[in-house]
């Protein structure tokens, strides 16, 4: 496998720099080159130790910054969805919040007429209910007793 090397640092040069690094003789520039060399993937096994050392120092030097990109991605997505949801909600409620009546298949939108039709249907229900209640009210306790006695009277015959 051909290794893609940055800054043209050959293995020999890298070995020499590593030696120099352990002796404490490397300059800042050389250490930078060495670090970039060791940051490469696919290096031979013999560089593992140095990679670990430089990797450790790298982590110590650069505190891992909070990666805001996914957060921003989600936030923008949520914001877009909220706009869509608000639009849908407005659309559905705008459609449902309406006042109309259909009489024999003909649509009526005049509010006073619609209200009058609504009241008529309410009267239909409450009128019958009152009739039923009235029936119960008219039927006094005496009537009930009399009716029950009548049943026995007819069975006696």
């Amino acid at each position: 496998m051909k290794l893609k090397r940055r800054h043209n640092l050959s293995f020999e040069e890298a070995d020499a720099l590593i030696e120099k690094y352990y002796d404490g003789l490397t300059s800042g520039e050389e250490e930078k080159h060495l670090h970039e060399f060791l940051a490469q993937r696919g290096l031979p096994e013999r560089y593992k130790a140095e990679q670990a050392i430089f990797g450790y120092f790298e982590r110590k030097k650069h505190k891992p910054a909070l990666n805001m990109k996914p957060v921003l991605n989600w936030a923008s997505g949520i914001a877009a969805m909220l706009v869509i949801a608000a639009g849908l909600h407005f659309y559905t409620t705008a459609n449902t919040k309406s006042n109309y009546a259909y009489v024999n298949g003909v649509k009526i939108t005049k509010l006073s007429e619609v209200k009058s039709k609504a009241l008529m249907s309410l009267n239909e229900v409450s009128a019958t209910n009152n009739e039923v209640e009235q029936c119960f009210q008219n039927m006094t306790a005496n009537d009930v007793v009399q009716q029950q006695l009548d049943i026995f009277a007819t069975s006696e015959k």
Partner: protein, 150 residues
């Protein structure tokens, strides 16, 4: 790919949110009555939203009155039989084994009290009336008001 996945997840969440926001009557069987018979001949259907109706404070009022259609009346009764589950039956009048008047107090949904009123009369002609009410007021108060008004 990751972005598409993210979009789909949000879309599902959004749809769930919207579905929660749909009308409280949408999962009731009586909705079918309004859809099926609403614009037919011999039928009067009314829908009022957030309108003051002579002192009644309804968020939604829907009614349908069907003349001389016993099949429609049976269909309404079948729908009511399903909507009855979980509801409080305030009143039921049975004539010759057939319910002719049913008042149902449904459990509140989206902070709205719900009522279904059904009535069938035969004189002078067969007339079936179905009413669905949503109100912020307690359904018992609404019912009292309806019965008192007459």
């Amino acid at each position: 790919m990751k972005r598409t996945k993210q979009f789909l997840v949000l879309l599902i969440l959004c749809c769930l949110g919207v579905s929660v926001g749909v009308s409280a009557q949408d999962n009731l069987q009586i909705r079918k009555v309004f859809e099926k018979y609403g614009d037919r001949k011999g039928v009067t259907m009314v829908e009022l939203s957030d309108e003051a109706l002579e002192g009644y404070d309804f968020s939604l009022f829907k009614s349908i009155t069907i003349n001389n259609d016993s099949q429609a009346a049976d269909f309404i009764r079948a729908c009511l039989a399903q909507d009855e589950s979980g509801a409080k039956k305030v009143k039921q009048v049975v004539s010759n084994g057939i319910p002719t008047s049913i008042f149902l107090q449904l459990p509140p949904k989206h902070q709205l009290f719900r009522l279904i009123l059904f009535n069938e009369t035969f004189k002078p002609e067969q007339k079936t009336t179905l009413i669905y009410i949503e109100s912020k007021k307690d359904s018992e108060d609404v019912l009292k008001l309806i019965l008192k008004k007459k």
